[in-house]
């Protein structure tokens, strides 16, 4: 069922694939804190990725703001235990800037402990693989919207 | 020389609304600590919007806060006249010294400084001196300092050095409030909607608003019939609502966008929320703030279109005022009673009246016997036959036969029950005032009376008692002040043949810590000792507790030895609980199981809920049967105990 694993930024592909296999997760999304998609695994449609990215970025922004208001350090990871699925959301700081990882897993197939265990591994791999020179080009006001949707189109070959 | 502060213009009569909230708050702060907060305070607003009223209110408040404060109020013209008069009389310096020693200077209509160069420099010197000495200056004008034509530059900066605050046109809401307060002051009431109509018209200032009100009052007085909304509109010459004759909104000065926005929203809410709801909510907020319960008003809000709202509110206010009077009065006599919530709830006004009456006569009776222990429900039997007979004699002729009566018995033997029972019997007589309470409560009352220095009031209260019954008198041990009080009270009551009854766990002379003079008085009366309840008593108590139930159960329970009724009832409760838990009927069999546990023992399962398959280190799977369970277990713990 999974829609396979694809990356907008090539360096994320290999760490992502290992993570998907080892942690046995159903859906994974790597994105910038603004919700721009870097790579995904398991999504079949662009619109699902868009909603997941927007909501994931919003949740991350909310918890970071809450941590700031509570005067504490930002949250390391956020786990939501559902009936059949669990969601795990956590940032990884890389030279290319923070990467937010959103993972959805079946409680039958794997467990939060395993997902967290292999997430540590994913984080180290991503830090290793991220291109050193972070050519963070200044996003022009006009094309911010285009930036967001471009990453989707390239993911789904449009 | 200067116009005295008009007493009418105080903060209490000043209606605060969104448009003048800031100015009034600043004014209060200045009045409370003159010279330290905003100095000088410069208030400007269009004419007729309450500047003078506010200025004088500040003066009053400052005087009330610090009576010996010298406060001067004068308009600029008066100041100029006084100055010229002093100069003409060669008293220039005396004039200056007089004003420089003023603690608080209130100068009105400062805008008339225009092209009065000499006066401006005079005022500059005065304000420098006053501020230097930390005295407070409050100035009022119809425009901000910068807009006063050719005002000396230094005066403009000095005037604006403290706080410059403005007052806008009062919004709809405040206008309604002003009208209602003024109508109240003039002791005239209007049909609902009339004042709202007047308030709806955007008058340029409060003075015009008052003018309109006066016209309505005059009209209503002349025709001595309540003016209707329509008539009011005619009198004021406003076109009927809805003909788009919305009077042109006066060009309200837009001091800042937020307060304009605020007053607009207030106006919208004012119009949106029906006027009567606003009035009711306002009353609720006010009285709730003062700690009164406002259920009656809140009920109004819940209805769609309640009847005469104003009458209900004024009725409510009348009750609250009455409550305040009563509470004040009771406070004097009995502070504890004054705290009672009855004085906070207008719905319970008559109850509060009764409490006040009782306290007023100082006849607040001491605590009486509890109705939960009537004599009838006390089980009699051979073991307490004699004692009960004695008690009946005491009840028959209180104070005459055995005074005092002392009931002695182990705890749970029914002493408290009997004490209250006697109390109830005695209380039944005419004009009986029976005090019946635990010694601990008695001690607390003595302490409270000492703290509230109302000991004599407290003594009077108990001396009026026709019978005094104290439970667990042994608790007096070590409390010498209370024993002193009891000793005096004892003698007074005994002399008047008033019956005294006490209970104690053991005979009086064995109660250590009690003064000899108390012990001897207790021993002097009839000491009645209650031993363990006999079978007849036990069966009677059980029957009353269990009602229709298997005779075998009653006999079984009655036959069991019990040191006291309380202990027996505790066992009964255990049986009842067991019956409920297993939802089985109350039977002798069950009682035996619960109380003696004779049933055949349940099989004790050894080991724990396991499959028995143990993957052992020797590899291969061995089932439990062959497994040796007695491990070389350390001395103190057997495996079976591990469950």
């Amino acid at each position: 069922m999974t829609g396979g694993t694809r990356a907008v930024e090539a360096w994320t592909l290999e760490p992502l694939t290992t993570f998907v296999q080892e942690a046995g997760v159903r859906l994974v999304l790597l994105m910038t804190p603004a919700g721009q998609v870097l790579a995904q695994s398991g999504f079949a449609r662009a619109v699902d990725v868009m909603s997941a990215a927007a909501l994931g970025a919003a949740i991350f922004a909310s918890t970071t703001e809450m941590a700031r208001q509570l005067g504490g350090p930002p949250f390391a990871g956020l786990a939501h235990q559902g009936e059949k699925h669990g969601i795990f959301l956590s940032p990884v700081s890389t030279d290319r800037g923070p990467v937010v990882v959103l993972a959805v897993y079946d409680l039958g197939a794997t467990s939060l402990g395993l997902v967290q265990l292999f997430f540590e591994q994913l984080a180290t791999d991503l830090r290793g693989a991220s291109p050193k020179a972070s050519e963070q080009k200044q996003v022009l006001a006009a094309d911010f919207e285009r930036e967001l949707t471009d990453s989707l189109n390239s993911l789904f070959g449009r | 020389m200067t116009a005295a502060l008009n007493p009418k213009f105080s903060f209490d009569s000043y209606v605060v609304g969104a448009a003048n909230r800031l100015a009034v708050t600043a004014g209060r702060t200045v009045a409370e600590n003159p010279g330290s907060a905003y100095n000088p305070l410069f208030i400007y607003s269009g004419s007729g919007l309450g500047k003078t009223h506010l200025l004088m209110a500040i003066g009053h408040a400052a005087k009330r806060a610090a009576p010996n404060l010298s406060v001067e109020y004068l308009t600029l013209d008066e100041y100029v006249e006084a100055f010229h008069a002093a100069i003409a009389a060669g008293q220039g310096d005396a004039f200056r010294r007089r004003f420089q020693s003023v603690d608080m200077l209130l100068v009105d209509d400062v805008q008339f400084l225009t092209n009065r160069k000499e006066m401006q420099s005079e005022l500059l010197r005065l304000t420098e001196a006053l501020q230097g000495a930390g005295h407070q200056i409050v100035l009022a004008s119809d425009r901000p300092p910068a807009e006063i034509a050719d005002l000396d530059e230094r005066l403009i900066s000095r005037f604006s050095g403290g706080l410059v605050v403005d007052m806008g046109i009062p919004d709809y809401e405040t206008r309604v409030a002003i009208l209602r307060k003024k109508a109240e002051e003039r002791a005239t009431s209007f049909q609902s909607g009339v004042l709202e109509t007047v308030a709806g018209v955007e008058f340029a200032n409060v003075r015009e608003l008052m003018g309109a009100l006066n016209r309505l009052i005059a009209f209503q007085a002349v025709n001595d019939a309540p003016i209707t909304e329509a008539a009011a509109r005619q009198v004021l010459g406003i076109a009927a609502r809805g003909e788009g004759a919305e009077p042109a909104a006066a060009p309200a000065p837009a001091p800042d966008e937020f307060s304009t926005f605020l007053s607009d929203v207030t106006a919208t809410v004012g119009r949106a929320v029906e006027a009567w709801r606003a009035r009711v909510s306002e009353a609720i907020l006010r009285w709730e703030g003062e700690g009164f319960r406002t259920k009656r008003l809140e009920a109004l809000l819940a209805q769609e279109t309640p009847g005469a709202v104003d009458q209900v509110i004024s009725g409510f206010v009348k009750d609250v005022e009455r409550l305040k009077v009563l509470a004040a009065e009771v406070q004097m006599l009995d502070p504890q009673a004054a705290g009672d919530s009855v004085f906070r709830d207008p719905e319970r006004l008559d109850e509060a009246e009764k409490v006040a009456v009782r306290v007023r006569e100082g006849a607040a009776p001491p605590p009486g016997p509890s109705a939960a222990f009537p004599l009838a429900t006390f089980a009699a039997g051979p073991s307490n036959e004699k004692e009960l007979a004695a008690i009946r004699e005491v009840i028959a002729s209180p104070g005459k036969k055995f005074n005092p009566l002392v009931l002695v018995g182990a705890s749970g033997s029914g002493k408290t029950h009997l004490l209250n029972a006697i109390g109830l019997e005695l209380a039944g007589r005419s004009r009986a005032v029976v005090a019946c309470l635990s010694t601990q409560a008695f001690i607390d009352e003595v302490i409270a009376a000492i703290e509230g220095d109302r000991v004599d009031w407290w003594r009077a209260r108990y001396r009026r008692a026709t019978a005094l019954l104290l439970d667990d008198v042994h608790l007096l041990a070590g409390k010498d002040r209370t024993q002193e009080e009891l000793f005096n009270l004892f003698n007074v009551l005994q002399d008047k043949d008033r019956q005294l009854v006490f209970t104690a766990p053991s005979p009086p002379n064995t109660l250590e810590g009690l003064e000899e003079r108390i012990q001897s008085r207790l021993a002097g009366g009839l000491v009645v000792t209650f031993t363990e309840p006999d079978r007849v008593v036990r069966r009677a108590v059980l029957e009353r507790n269990l009602g229709k139930v298997e005779v075998a159960l009653l006999d079984y329970l009655a036959d069991r030895p019990a040191t006291s009724i309380r202990a027996m009832l505790a066992e009964l409760q255990r049986v009842k609980d067991a019956a409920d838990a297993q939802s089985q009927p109350l039977t002798a069999g069950l009682a035996r199981v619960v109380l003696e546990g004779e049933a055949p023992p349940r099989r004790r399962t050894s080991g724990f809920r396991t499959s028995g398959i143990v993957v052992s280190s020797a590899g291969g799977v061995r089932s439990r049967e062959k497994m040796v369970w007695e491990w070389p277990v350390p001395a103190d713990r057997m495996l079976e105990d591990l469950r």
């Binding site: 467990s111 402990g113 265990l117 | 499959s611 143990v614 993957v615 052992s616 469950r643």
Partner: protein, 117 residues
């Protein structure tokens, strides 16, 4: 059961000579509830793996119709892993030297499981 309550439960196990560490792990998601481990033992990894092993073993035992596991003893070249599932679904895990007295560890694990249940 307070956190230090769990820790106290482990004292018995770590007290046995040859035991290098002990942990209380949630059976469902393999998270470490309490641990007292010597240096060098990757607690989170052991916990996550033990839990997923427990899940698989559980399914195997159900298939075999032998009921749920009581005690496992996984002997390895350089040590051993001893686990007792507690009734509440927690796992009491001990990491030990190869020559450890398995019986004693098992007994302490059972006692810890009891106090944690």
């Amino acid at each position: 059961m307070s956190a230090n309550g769990y820790e106290a439960a482990l004292h018995g196990v770590t007290g046995v000579r040859g035991v290098r560490g002990a942990m209380v792990v949630t059976g469902s998601d393999g998270l470490v509830v309490a641990e007292s481990l010597m240096e060098g033992i990757k607690g989170t990894a052991v916990a996550a793996l033990a839990a997923s092993l427990a899940a698989r073993l559980g399914r195997a035992m159900d298939a075999g119709g032998v009921g749920s596991g009581v005690f496992w003893h996984l002997q390895a070249e350089r040590g051993a892993l001893l686990v007792v599932p507690a009734r509440s679904g927690m796992l009491i895990v001990a990491v030990a030297e190869p020559g450890v007295n398995a019986g004693l560890v098992r007994l302490e694990l059972l006692r810890a499981a009891e106090s944690v249940a």
